[in-house]
């Protein structure tokens, strides 16, 4: 078993191949379960392209796995604020995803101004900003301003929520 473990170590990229394979299976299943009666219009039905894409995904999944096992590595992307020397901080990512999901849930009941302010404040907090007064103030101003500009000036409607009902 140790050999299997040592092969797998540091090769989380194999998971990418597995995910692509699963996606391929999903696309193929969906393509094959399409309604055959309607599919008869024209020489190419609605299932043909999904079949091609699904097979492509399977092939690429296998090729990628072979590449990784032979020592190929996908290069992680660099950037202005990216420090690849540090290990990845997945906690921050999870927090951000959570804050974002909370925004999706809250925008209906609370309206954009409040939910948006919470989104900005929460995201800034997750990213390490700890100004107790400045952070919420910036969040509130940014959110209200964005709401006003989009809803009033640019004609892009956003939900006002109970807060706008009061004002």
């Amino acid at each position: 078993m140790t050999t299997v473990k040592s092969v797998l170590r540091g090769r989380s990229e194999l998971g990418v191949g597995a995910l692509l394979f699963l996606l391929g299976v999903l696309v193929l299943t969906d393509a094959l379960t399409l309604d055959a009666d309607v599919a008869g219009r024209g020489p190419v039905g609605p299932g043909t392209v999904p079949l091609v894409v699904g097979c492509g995904l399977l092939v690429v999944a296998v090729l990628l796995t072979v590449d990784v096992l032979r020592g190929g590595r996908g290069e992680a992307e660099g950037g202005e604020d990216v420090d690849l020397a540090e290990p990845a901080d997945w906690r921050t990512v999870l927090l951000l995803a959570g804050v974002f999901l909370a925004f999706a849930v809250l925008i209906g009941p609370l309206g954009f101004p409040i939910a948006g302010a919470l989104l900005f404040w929460g995201a800034a907090y997750a990213l390490g900003s700890r100004h107790l007064h400045r952070d919420p103030l910036i969040a509130a101003v940014l959110s209200l301003l964005t709401y006003a500009v989009f809803d009033q000036l640019l004609g892009v409607p956003l939900p006002g929520g109970p807060l706008m009902g009061v004002i």
Binding site: V49, E75, E77, G79, F150, G155
Partner: protein
């Protein structure tokens, strides 16, 4: 002469006070967002898409043109003053620009870049005026098999020219094609990959895919690896150039477009290759070779001019063929689709006011850019000091606004997050993002052309290759595919002869 009168009409559209205002706002917003570290032109354009939702198409695209050029210029300001380019096209600007800024010549570097952008943009857009109507006229006669061939070329070029690994590029393209499949089939109304969900039956909006991959994916990826001590930006005064500098750079400004424009028009990854080629050319032709690497002004002027001209070249294939060759063009194509406008050869006939207004406003935007950015450069430089938590929280905030504004659906925000997480994974494992975006945008169109072509030929596969044009394009595709194999074989024979 036809295009000249159309262009004058276009100026009539672009110079109305309201459109002039949109152009100015676009240039200012584009530069401000593009200057922010970590935001390249594609993300800037994707984030600013919702700003234009309430406008009529002409005003929206005039604003868009300003955003595009502004974001490109903003990006090079960042690389010159911070030496950490956010996108590949600005890498070259940092090679010479940053040493110049470090040795106190930041003002000259910014001026050389700004005037380079202006010169490259002016020449590039002039070429666009001359060439686009001709290309459009030639392209009017091409049919479904030809379109399909062009799209296949775009798919293959984007996966094999860019990035270090073709398999990963192909994987990215297939992910994009899969996302493009979601929804009702255009011809039969069959549900594909919707899993019975009504919201998914409408398909996933291209804007949500673009914002998710470019903005959310990038913000999450940076969050996972946030540099604790961000780079220090070099303070800079008002840009200006001395007489000696102008003498050294004017030829570079003029040479840049000759390299940039043709590369922009073909699907070869936009400004990345031409800026590099321009840099090498300037280095070879310079009388001050010893200064290269230590802050040679020609090394800023030439590549910046090439980058700007390549942006104009990109617009040729985008407007006349509906073929996006860069990430920004892909997002712009998505914006056209929002308005129900299909770029292609007929665009010049059907929407002359829009197209020529857009082209004229490119000229207007360039002038505004030069007039605004030279005096405002110190202000832009201050934006580089924005605390990183606010910057990335702001990106998430505006991405959420954009996705919600598309349809007012909270579910779109969940889809956005999922696509953002895909974008995060792609960055972690070196899958380039651009092929996926191209796949989402061109996938459904390519399928339609394929089915149309096969319907005409009654299902016979020869219907895909029955025009000289499509055969030529497929030949190019084959060359692109075979190129690495040929190189490998050549290397092998080299080794055996040694």
């Amino acid at each position: 002469m036809d295009s000249l009168t159309s262009l004058i009409d276009g100026f009539g559209t672009a110079l109305t006070p309201i459109n002039l205002l949109w152009a100015a706002i676009g240039v200012l917003l584009g530069t401000a967002i593009g200057v922010l570290p970590g935001i390249g032109p594609a993300m800037a354009v994707a984030l600013l898409l919702p700003v234009t939702y309430g406008l009529e198409p002409t005003g929206a695209f005039i604003m868009f043109a300003g955003i595009y050029y502004g974001a490109m210029f903003g990006g090079s300001t960042t690389s010159i003053l911070l030496n950490t380019p956010g996108e590949s096209a600005a890498v070259v600007a940092a090679i010479e620009g940053n040493p110049m800024a470090k040795s106190g010549r930041g003002a000259q570097a910014l001026a050389a870049a700004a005037i380079g952008h202006f010169a490259g943009g002016m020449i590039g857009t002039t070429l666009l005026v001359v060439l686009a109507p001709t290309v459009a006229a030639l392209a009017v006669d091409i049919g479904a098999p030809d379109y399909l061939a062009l799209m296949v070329l775009a798919f293959i070029a984007v996966t094999s020219v860019l990035g270090s690994s073709r398999i990963r590029g192909l994987a990215s393209l297939l992910i994009g094609l899969t996302i493009g499949l979601v929804g009702l089939d255009q011809m039969t109304g069959q549900q594909r990959l919707t899993f019975g969900s009504l919201q998914l039956a409408d398909g996933i909006d291209v804007v949500i895919v673009a914002v998710g991959l470019f903005a959310i994916g990038e913000a999450l990826w940076v969050a996972a690896h946030l540099r604790r001590a961000p780079g220090e930006a070099i303070p800079v005064g008002r840009p200006w150039l001395g007489r000696d500098d102008v003498k050294r750079t004017w030829k570079s400004w003029l040479r840049g477009p000759a390299i940039g424009f043709p590369f922009g028009a073909i699907p070869a990854g936009g400004a990345e290759i031409p800026t590099f080629l321009s840099y090498v050319t300037e280095k070879r032709l310079s009388k001050h070779k010893e200064q290269f690497g230590k802050g040679a002004i020609e090394g800023v002027a030439g590549p910046e001019s090439a980058a700007s001209a390549s942006a104009a070249g990109t617009l040729v294939s985008m407007l006349t063929l509906g073929l996006p060759t860069t990430a920004v063009a892909a997002v712009m194509l998505a914006a056209f689709q929002q308005y129900g406008i299909q770029p292609g050869p007929l665009l010049f006939e059907r929407e002359p006011e829009l197209v020529w207004g857009l082209i004229a406003s490119l000229f207007v935007g360039m002038v505004l850019l030069l007039a605004l950015n030279l005096p405002l450069a110190p202000v832009w430089a201050k934006l580089l000091r924005i605390p990183r938590p606010y910057l990335y929280a702001g990106i998430l905030f505006f991405a959420a606004v954009g996705a919600y504004a598309v349809g007012g659906e909270a579910l779109d925000l969940v889809v956005l997050l999922v696509i953002g997480l895909i974008g995060l994974g792609m960055r972690r494992y070196g899958l380039p993002v651009l092929p996926a975006v191209i796949g989402v945008i061109l996938g459904p169109a390519a399928e339609q052309q394929l089915r149309r072509a096969l319907q005409i030929s009654d299902g016979s596969l020869t219907g895909l290759v029955n025009t000289p044009f499509s055969v030529t394009v497929y030949a190019v595709v084959l060359v692109l595919l075979a190129w690495p194999l040929v190189r490998k074989a050549a290397r092998r024979t080299d080794r055996t002869t040694v």
